[in-house]
């Protein structure tokens, strides 16, 4: 397979994966574009690179930045191949423009792997053009030239020219043929794999205007948008005249929108929930007026969900496999269970949780009869770019999307309803509008992490090996056809490929509550169940969990031929051994203290985590240390990857401890951080991260370190006190972090 075919195949596969997430946009930006030949003080070498006469090299970051570090890591890839000195680099956000930058989104831990080939090519092509220009300038063949720290060097004569001196000439060089441009090998990297400070670190530390919520445009007004607390209901009437009479209120009106709860659909959905818009001179005035708002709601179209009833329906479905849909099977799992030496069965469950990214949703929109401009922290600005013209009945070229830093994403900003709310309100009032959700809005109108229920059964043979595996996934569905987002079991291969007898089935139970992508969808719960239950099986068979897991992974191989994004058992064993070595697995610990191990493969990343936990008689637990070993291929920014992993550990602990969304009559009961607690600093463990250098292409790091945390802690609790935790959050079982 040629490199080109590999690339096409890779892109296609990743896009298929992401399509499963609901977004199908055209792949692949134009790799290289010579835009302007002559600027007075800068020369543009591509849609990504501009070199100033002052030596400043401006590199565009094409994907939305929501804290995953791509405003640093993606430009680093270009800078590496360009041989630009990082101190000379200034990072800017590129425009949202599919013609030049392809699909711009942040999801599925895909930003780095999807841009890897493209951005290396961008950097290397620009470097080739600079070499061409230097060759002409110095009168020597390009083969005699090398590059280092933003300079082209002719070693033989000792002469050198800076990129800023060469940029104008380089911008007039014809675009070299892609196949003639050589990419570096990993040994040649000077920048990749090093710890580089986030490109926005100093601006963040000084409180500069960076985030979506910070955007201000001239004559802007502020809006609060009030939706029915019973998700999907619609306003019949409201005391709009009283609201409009409030000091500072500019307008108040009902937006008809589309009633009824709806599920996550970023590709097609320009739906806006019905509600009441209050437009005011500032945020506080809108929020204050809202306290006086009286709305008569029609809750007929609304969700009637009750989280206790959903959980009860799930329990009732356990064991009723005759009503379940079989997903896959091999051998005879039932017979193998009877034949097994030890046999275990357990029911695992997890409640709904909210994203609770710290910046509540907001969006600034400026819509006129002829044009629209929006500033958004969306994780899918390309989707907004495609869909907003239709919503506003404007031609595509009249709509401009600005991608602005988001205060956390975690999947919450993959949907764009807040953008469409702002656009419709601006269209109605004829002024630029910032729609500001309150924290309470943000918690009530989330696309939640789906609740999930897993009935698991397994058997271990006389030889101590997994001989039978049964999994019954019970998930909510709004249409009885497929699970709501986050509840669908997708082919995983592990452990199935290593178990001669298994069957996997699913049952859908009614649920209207909107769910969506929450960091490592499905895996975030499934890993807890799988890795806890495998540990249960090992314990029942009297085996050490590390040994059991290493045996189960078996011989070294890729789980899918030719797919370098599949599970690789050698990489899996590598991270398990590294994490266990760092944690000194097997050492003896005082009573009430234990080590727990978990391994999980998701988003093409192999991650093992070992937690050291102590538990007291009142079930208060302290997570002392977490050792993480991860293999995500070539590391781009070591500091950034370590930060993502440290954050995943904290986030995983935060969610498992005491986060749950409860629902009554379709209404979310938790409203703010007083009833929905996030982990605070005194509870944060010490975290030790090791990145394994496996020599493969980079894969994403935002998600794969989250799933193993909960089972590692659960397994450590079992080791410490003998009690097995089977529900999330663990506060439901009386445990307190």
């Amino acid at each position: 397979m040629s490199a080109k075919e590999m690339k096409a195949r890779f892109h296609r596969r990743q896009f298929l994966q992401f399509s499963g997430l609901g977004l199908a946009l055209t792949a692949g930006g134009q790799v290289m574009q010579v835009v302007a030949a002559d600027h007075s003080d800068t020369s543009t070498l591509s849609a990504y690179i501009t070199v100033g006469r002052d030596g400043l090299i401006t590199i565009g970051a094409p994907n939305p930045e929501v804290g995953q570090g791509v405003n640093t890591s993606l430009p680093m890839i270009i800078a590496e191949e360009l041989d630009a000195a990082w101190r000379d680099v200034q990072v800017v956000n590129t425009p949202v423009d599919a013609a030049h930058y392809g699909a711009q989104f942040a999801g599925g831990s895909l930003s780095v792997p999807m841009r890897w080939d493209e951005l290396r090519q961008v950097g290397a092509t620009a470097r080739a053009m600079l070499l061409q220009a230097a060759s002409a300038e110095m009168g020597v063949p390009p083969a005699e030239l090398s590059t280092l720290d933003s300079r082209v060097i002719h070693e033989a004569s000792g002469r050198s020219l800076s990129y800023s001196e060469l940029a104008h000439g380089a911008s007039e060089v014809p675009l070299p043929d892609a196949d003639s441009v050589a990419l570096k090998s990993a040994e040649q990297y000077r920048l990749l794999g090093k710890r580089i400070t986030n490109a926005s670190a100093a601006a963040i530390a000084q409180g500069e205007s960076l985030f979506g919520i910070d955007v201000q445009v001239p004559n802007m007004v502020y809006a609060s948008y009030v939706k029915c607390p019973h998700i999907g209901g619609r306003p019949v009437s409201a005391n709009l005249d009283e609201i409009k009479a409030q000091r500072g209120v500019i307008d108040a009106f009902i937006l008809e929108g589309e009633p009824g709860p709806y599920q996550f659909d970023i590709r097609n959905s320009i739906k806006v929930s019905p509600g009441v818009a209050i437009v005011a001179r500032d945020t506080w005035t809108a929020m204050r007026a809202r306290k006086l708002l009286k709305v008569r709601w029609n809750t007929e179209p609304a969700s009637g969900d009750d989280s206790e009833q959903i959980a009860a329906a799930a329990k009732a479905a356990v064991g009723r496999l005759e009503q379940a849909t079989m997903i896959s099977s091999a051998g005879d799992a039932n017979q193998a269970l009877l034949d097994a030496k030890t046999h275990s069965r357990a029911f695992y469950s997890a409640d709904f949780v909210s994203h609770a990214q710290l910046e509540p949703q907001s969006c600034v929109a400026q819509v006129t009869a002829q044009s629209a401009e929006v500033w958004t922290s969306s994780q899918t600005p390309s989707a907004v770019d495609q869909l907003l013209p239709g919503l506003l009945s404007l031609p595509a070229e009249a709509v401009t999307i600005h991608s602005v830093r988001g205060g956390g994403g975690f999947g919450r900003r993959l949907s764009n309803e807040y953008v469409y709310e702002a656009a419709l309100i601006s269209q109605r009032v004829g002024l630029p509008v910032k729609v500001q959700w309150s924290r309470e809005d943000d918690m009530a109108f989330d696309y939640f992490r789906s609740a999930l229920y897993l009935d698991m059964e397994g058997g271990v043979s006389d030889e101590g090996r997994l001989a039978a595996w049964k999994l019954h996934v019970i998930a909510g569905s709004s249409d009885k056809e497929e699970a709501n987002y986050g509840g669908t079991y997708r082919e995983r291969d592990f452990p199935e490929k290593r178990v001669p007898n298994y069957n996997i089935a699913t049952t859908l139970i009614p649920s209207q509550t909107p769910t969506g992508a929450w960091r490592a969808p499905f895996s975030n719960i499934y890993a807890f169940a799988e890795q806890s239950f495998l540990c249960e099986l090992a314990a029942a068979a009297g085996r050490d969990y590390r040994d059991f897991l290493l045996d189960l992974l078996g011989e070294d191989e890729w789980f899918k031929d030719g797919d370098r994004n599949a599970l690789n058992t050698a990489r899996a064993k590598g991270v398990i051994n590294a994490a266990c070595a760092a944690a000194q697995w097997g050492r003896s610990l005082p009573e009430g203290r234990g080590l727990g191990l978990a391994f999980f493969f998701s988003h093409a990343g192999h991650v093992a985590e070992v937690a050291e936990v102590s538990v007291d008689a009142d079930k208060r637990l302290i997570v002392h240390d977490v050792w993480v070993a991860a293999d995500v291929g070539q590391v781009i920014n070591l500091s950034g990857v370590e930060n993502q992993i440290e954050g995943s550990v904290v986030d995983g602990l935060s969610a498992m401890a005491d986060q749950r969304i409860t629902i009554r009559e379709g209404r979310i009961q938790e409203t703010n951080f007083d009833t929905y607690p996030l982990l605070r600093m005194p509870k944060a463990p010490k975290i030790h991260v090791q990145m394994l250098a496996s020599g493969y292409s980079p894969t994403g790091a935002g998600e794969p370190a989250l799933p193993p945390l909960a089972p590692a802690v659960g397994n450590a609790v079992f080791a410490a006190c003998g009690e097995r935790i089977r529900e999330l959050p663990i506060s439901k079982a009386g445990f307190m972090v």
Binding site: D54, G55, L56, V66, G67, Q68, G69, D88, V89, Q90, V91, K194, R195, I196, T197, A199, S200, A201, A202, I204, A205, Q206, G207, S209, L210, I213, D214, Q216, R247, G248, D282, T283, W284, T285, A356, Q357, L358, E359, G406, G407, G408, Q436, R439, S639, G640, N643, Q644, E646, G647, V650, S654, N672, F673, L678, R680, M681, P682, A684, K686, I687
Partner: protein, 178 residues
């Protein structure tokens, strides 16, 4: 009668703003000082932490009308000619992910070091417990506070904004980080 509050050392006329407006929204919507962030509105998350007469306070809970004659410091007013040692430590330790909570974290940390320049690990955890970071950067925040503490105690002013490399670029090599 003009109504004045001292904001970052400057006596500022705020007569045009409704006096029941929380300081948070007055800063953000009327004064262009957007470093102070809205996270919860109920003093739970700490993203809006400012200093009121030198002590950390939640700007979402401070009606402007009660601040006459008081002195407010926001993250924008923390640096002098050079970055505050806490800000510098935040850059050195590459603390931020999304960065949204960090202004509040920095204001809490700088207030802690102002009253206790050499805090214990427990004192750091206690002082920072009111500031939530959803990205989970707590381990780096701890390290950054410890290194800012060392810098303050040794009296080192280790950031010179006049240095051409740093002034030219918002990024800096992390080779210095241990």
């Amino acid at each position: 009668m003009p109504f004045k509050v001292t904001i970052n050392g400057e006596l500022t006329d705020v007569s045009h703003i409704d006096p029941d407006t929380p300081l948070l929204w007055a800063l953000r919507d009327h004064m262009g000082l957007v470093g102070t962030k809205y996270g919860c509105g109920i003093a739970q998350c700490g993203a809006c932490t400012v200093w009121l007469n030198g002590d950390p306070a939640r700007a979402c809970q401070l009606p402007l009308g009660q601040l006459e004659g008081r002195s407010i410091t926001t993250v924008e007013g923390l640096a002098g000619d050079a970055l505050h040692p806490v800000q510098q430590a935040w850059v050195e330790h590459d603390v931020a992910q999304c960065g949204y909570c960090q202004a509040g974290q920095i204001m809490s940390a700088a207030a802690l070091l102002a009253r206790d320049p050499a805090p214990s690990e427990e004192a750091i955890d206690r002082a920072m417990a009111g500031n939530i970071c959803r990205c989970g950067t707590y381990v780096r925040i701890r390290k950054a506070i410890q290194s800012a503490s060392s810098a303050i105690q040794s009296g080192v002013a280790f950031f010179d904004p006049g240095e051409p490399d740093l002034a030219a670029s918002p990024v800096d090599s992390m080779e210095v980080r241990s």
